[in-house]
């Protein structure tokens, strides 16, 4: 099969095209816009049999997406950062409608200060909404994950929407060789959406999204969502296996890099994992048994997989490209919670880096790996660290002087 050089955004658009979605309500926001422009062009050229519509906001966009999915159409939409937050109310709402739409989020740091480059506070803000979350490192993975996302979302044991996440700029605008699957093969993997649970038609009036009063109904429906989401872990394994059989590529709930005999494990997500893998390779060259765990499926959280991987390791370092102000790394907390009852648990270190797309340099990776080795030697676990190099500090001081604040 011929590989094409595609950006992350173009790969997302290809995934949507191959999934033969019916409906794309959209709203532009950097760095996502290339996805919807590409889809608009294909639909306009008759290459995709779908309706494209630009809404008046992301709030309206997610509403239209959810309502169309509740009517029985296969729906795609995309957003980033401020847009995702503007539509935030509707993320929870449409998830509660149990509609299997797929959304792409192209990660970008959150205002204020307003910025363009990525971190994961936007996507992780949606963590508890009921959307499933798949986080991607490569362009191929973006395309493949969208196809898998529809299969997962539309499975009657799941029936929840999915967000596929990719980093703005670092992946959205980076070209990589991507294998674009054959449409007939995709059709076999992902047949037409024919819902039995939610639709609108004259012969069968249906009330959807109705209110409940009191905790009885509310708890019931929230528990249902949670159980369906955790059930999606099992469904995901089947979907992943079938995807591998059909297309020859495997995308698990996580990706391990040099994990087999690793004693020191970096935990990362998304495109910066590539930097982490290079650092692991360098550490191996120096005889340090390092490895990397890249989390892919964040909701549902593959807790058992993670506990199994971490068993018997010496130190785990979570590099969070996000910051929960006043607490620290969000994924650090999640990893800690699944290790806390283990008998032989590894030491756990926490670093925050890459906020707003700030680089994580080889020197910083070396520092983090050294910290792990030192932690074993001394038995001392350092407090959470905020990565910021001396050079970056000096540059910031220079800018402050220009601003008259030096």
């Amino acid at each position: 099969m011929i590989k094409e050089m595609l950006t992350g955004n173009a790969s997302a658009a290809w995934g949507v095209r191959l999934a033969e979605v019916d409906y794309v309500p959209a709203y532009p926001v950097t760095p996502q816009t290339e996805i919807i422009e590409t889809l608009a062009r294909w639909i306009c050229d008759g290459l995709m049999d779908a309706k494209f519509i630009t809404m008046d906001s992301e709030h309206s966009m997610i509403t239209a997406a959810g309502a169309a999915s509740a009517t029985g159409a296969r729906v795609f939409t995309a957003s980033s950062s401020q847009g995702l937050l503007y539509g935030f109310e509707m993320l929870y709402t449409v998830a509660g409608w149990r509609v299997p739409l797929v959304m792409v989020n192209v990660s970008r740091g959150l205002s204020s200060p307003i910025t363009l480059e990525p971190d994961h506070n936007d996507i992780l803000a949606a963590r508890d909404s009921g959307f499933l979350q798949v986080h991607c490192e490569t362009c191929q993975e973006v395309l493949d994950s969208i196809l898998m996302a529809y299969r997962l979302a539309e499975d009657e044991q799941v029936l929840l929407p999915v967000i596929v996440n990719l980093d703005g700029f670092y992946l959205s605008f980076t070209r990589e060789p991507v294998e674009v699957p054959d449409l007939e093969e995709v059709r076999r993997f992902l047949p037409t959406y024919r819902p039995r649970h939610a639709f609108f038609k004259a012969s069968q009036p249906m009330a959807q999204g109705v209110a409940v009063l009191g905790g009885l109904g509310y708890s019931y429906f929230k528990y249902q969502m949670h159980l369906a989401c955790t059930r999606a872990l099992e469904v995901y394994k089947d979907v992943s296996l079938e995807f591998e059989k059909t297309f020859g590529r495997k995308h698990g709930t996580y990706e391990g890099y040099m994990l087999d005999d690793a004693e020191y494990i970096l935990v990362m997500t998304n495109s910066f994992s590539t930097l982490g893998k290079a650092a692991v390779k360098r550490a191996r060259g120096k005889g340090v048994k390092a490895g990397l765990l890249r989390l892919r499926l964040l909701r549902p959280f593959p807790e058992m997989d993670i506990r199994n991987i971490m068993r018997g390791r010496k130190v785990v370092t979570v590099i969070d490209q996000n910051i929960s102000i006043g607490k620290g790394g969000i994924l650090h907390s999640e990893i800690a919670s699944c290790l806390c009852n283990e008998e032989k648990k590894p030491l756990l270190l926490s670093f925050i880096g890459g906020l707003g797309g700030k680089n994580i340099s080889p020197g910083e990776f070396e520092f983090m790996i050294d910290s792990m080795v030192r932690a074993v030697e001394t038995g001392e676990v350092t407090t959470q660290k905020l990565l910021y190099t001396e050079m970056e500090w000096k540059e910031m001081e220079r800018l402050k002087r220009i601003a008259g604040k030096g």
């Binding site: 309706k51 008046d56 959810g66 309502a67 009517t71 509707m90 709402t93 012969s203 009036p205």
Partner: protein, 332 residues
Amino acid sequence: MERNGKTKKNSGERIKIMEAPIKSIKDLPLEENLLPGTPACAGCGGLLSLRHCLKTLGRNTVIVNAASCFTLLAIYPFTPFKNSWLYTAMACAPAGAQGIRDALDILIRKGRLDTEEDLKVVVLTGDGAAYDMGLSSTSGAIHRNLDFYYICYDNEAYGNTGFQWSGATPFASRTGTTPLGRLSKTGTALHKKDLFEIWRSQKPPYLATILPAHPVDLANKFKKAEQFKGPKLFITFSPCPPGWGMDPSFSIKLAKLAVNTGIWPLKEAVYGDVVHTVVPKKFEPVEDYLKEQGRFKHLFKPERQEETIKKIQDMVDNYWRIYLSAFTGNKM
């Protein structure tokens, strides 16, 4: 009134407009799509209007609701509607309508849904969503020429939260957030937004004001609207007994007073051209309308606020002077 069968021109399209097929209450559709037993307040004017709207709209309708009193009409596992229903959120019911309309069209076109399964899509919101929070999504839907109905039941405040000021609250009304006190004896100093004119600026094919005391006028407006593809918008005057401070049995009388005093003009606009459909032969003083309601009680007791009452009367008089002289088509 317009003559029957007048032809209207809009961007090259010629439509023969049918006028007033319903002559009296006896001609109103017998079918009921909103059944009794809802948790709405006794004497809710909005609910009465909605019942009449759904009689004319018929069963094959999906109601897209924004957060409002009527969100509590369908509480799991019950619904009072024979129609379909989707509760969205407060700001975005028109966007929900867009999603459903588009999905129905696509599924029918692709042969995944029979044409007879098609539904009318109807947005149902209170004035809080219509005048304030949902204005952006409403404007968007009108601009995109979405083929849908929009019913705003206007009780002139945030009613479901216990009657607080909204953009629809009229001048001098007392509400929970525009109380009377040592520094303010008038209620709100702001004037009601003119939602009809805001909508009209976008020239939708059809928009109208209605109220539950004139069901024939209401039904004829829905019949007329049926002929247009695009946004069909209705604002219904909705007496709110607990909020307005009046007896539930008085709702219909108050709605009649609202017409007869000129406070609530019954009108329609086809592609922006306004016609008043019910014009009182003799206008009653607005005082008769105001003094019946707790929310305006302070204008009369402990002392009469002559200037404020006159200001309201002047506003009403000005409205009718301008409109009756500007739109010469109004002949009773």
